[in-house]
């Protein structure tokens, strides 16, 4: 009889060989728990990420912008639905995940704990935050859990569209009046630290359980460097500065040098003490409670046999 340790070693060997794990496959508890926690947080972030942009739908400056922002918010909610379904197969019900989210027992991404003060923030969220998300999400296309990879294929395709939407908004602002340029620059200045936090602190690869199991495939720092290389030159090309006096590309080392942001603030925010955490959770809970009748109606429909 094969011991748990032997099965775990065989499982790890499969991952190291590039095999993909399906929901019905045997998996060690540590893998299941790590994958569930990671995907659940991703799903939470998608549905919480709807809220800052949703606030701007009624205030969008034109009908076209209103339609395109509405479609983006709908996509983000859809990503949440797809990801909760993937997470459910790892052993936790959608209802429990939502209950944990709205009651502050689970986390969502740091950037969605901040206010979206101006239309410039909508451009920053659409271009730079979705850009940061796309850098991290593309790295997940090669992750070890097959259902997550399938979900990410769809999500990345839609995020690419959102990126265009965000870049289009940005170009309109930076090529507009001085006030519009200032509005965008001000938004970049306020969002830069949360974007640096978005990638997380530099991690030690040998101590990162998500890297160990192939759920994540690249380190936080590797992803942050890719973000710098992709977006900082584009910002500079538009005459937009970045509020980090130490940020520079070291040609000899072939990497970006940057100042460490305040990681205490990051930990405070992800623990639920961000400037908008309670307001956003209040809204999410109110919507969840208001729509309880839909879930109750569905629960009363008898399942059919096919």
């Amino acid at each position: 009889m094969t011991s748990y340790e032997e099965r775990t070693a065989e499982f790890k060997a499969r991952i190291d060989a590039g095999d993909k794990i399906e929901a019905g496959d045997w998996m060690p508890d540590e893998y299941r728990q790590s994958a569930l926690k990671f995907i659940e947080m991703h799903a939470n972030s998608e549905v919480m990420g709807c809220l800052p942009e949703r606030e701007w739908i009624p205030r969008a400056p034109s009908l076209r912008r209103k339609l395109s922002l509405t479609a983006k918010v709908q996509d983000e909610a859809g990503h949440g639905q797809i990801l909760y379904r993937v997470a459910e197969d790892l052993g936790k019900s959608r209802e429990q995940m939502f209950d944990d989210l709205v009651n502050g027992r689970t986390k969502f991404h740091n950037v969605f704990h901040y206010p979206a003060e101006t239309w410039g923030d909508v451009a920053v969220i659409g271009w730079l935050i979705d850009g940061a998300a796309l850098v991290t999400q593309k790295a997940l296309l090669d992750c070890s859990y097959a259902p997550y990879v399938r979900a990410m294929k769809r999500i990345c395709a839609e995020e690419s569209l959102h990126l265009r939407h965000g870049e289009d908004l940005t170009l309109e602002l930076v090529s507009g009046t001085d006030e519009q340029r200032e509005m965008f620059q001000d938004a970049v200045n306020r969002w830069w630290k949360p974007i640096m936090h978005f990638f997380g602190p530099p991690s030690k690869p040998d101590k990162d359980v998500l890297l160990h199991w192939g759920i994540k495939t690249r380190t936080n720092e590797d992803l942050r460097q890719e973000f710098f290389s992709t977006y900082v030159p584009k910002l500079w090309d538009l005459g937009i500065s970045v509020p980090d006096p130490d940020l520079r590309y070291d040609e000899e080392r072939g990497e970006w040098i940057w100042s460490d942001p305040d990681w205490d603030e990051f930990w405070q925010v992800v623990k639920g003490n961000g400037p908008m955490t309670q307001t956003r959770l209040f809204w999410r809970k109110a919507i969840w409670d208001h729509h309880a009748w839909v879930r109750e109606t569905f629960d009363r429909i008898p399942a059919t046999v096919v």
Partner: protein, 127 residues
């Protein structure tokens, strides 16, 4: 509630492939949820659902609605066609106004790719 696996056929004659799953009380709801959550943008040529643990495929009979009334121009990539060109134009405008920030930066992806290609070609020639 029942879990339904969702399958897609990318083009006529291609094999079915699993692209996700939905949870719904019956096949009608599952079909509707599938269309709204996974096929809003006319992805693929056809789709089907299969109650998890069974073999019977239920194909979507009418795909004309796929990417139809809900597939507006602002949902598609082509609605933002030309953003790259617009970026270059705005960049030129900023250069003329003296606003561009000119600092060392990594070679762009195309340059990195062609440098890598030249390296590979060199190695191949040496071999």
């Amino acid at each position: 509630m029942t879990v339904w696996d969702v399958l897609q056929r990318r083009r006529a004659g291609a094999d079915w492939e699993v692209v996700g799953a939905v949870k719904a009380p019956d096949a009608d709801f599952a079909m509707m949820l599938t269309r709204e959550s996974l096929f809003r943008r006319k992805e693929g040529e056809a789709y089907a659902i299969r109650r998890r643990g069974t073999e019977t495929l239920i194909e979507c009979e009418d795909t004309t609605g796929l990417g139809g009334v809900i597939d507006r121009e602002f949902r598609r990539m082509d609605s933002f066609a030309g953003v790259g060109g617009k970026h270059r134009r705005v960049h030129e405008e900023m250069r003329e106004r003296g606003l561009v920030i000119d600092r060392p930066r990594p070679p762009d992806r195309r340059q990195r790719r062609s440098a890598k290609q030249a390296e590979d070609d060199g190695e191949a020639a040496r071999a």
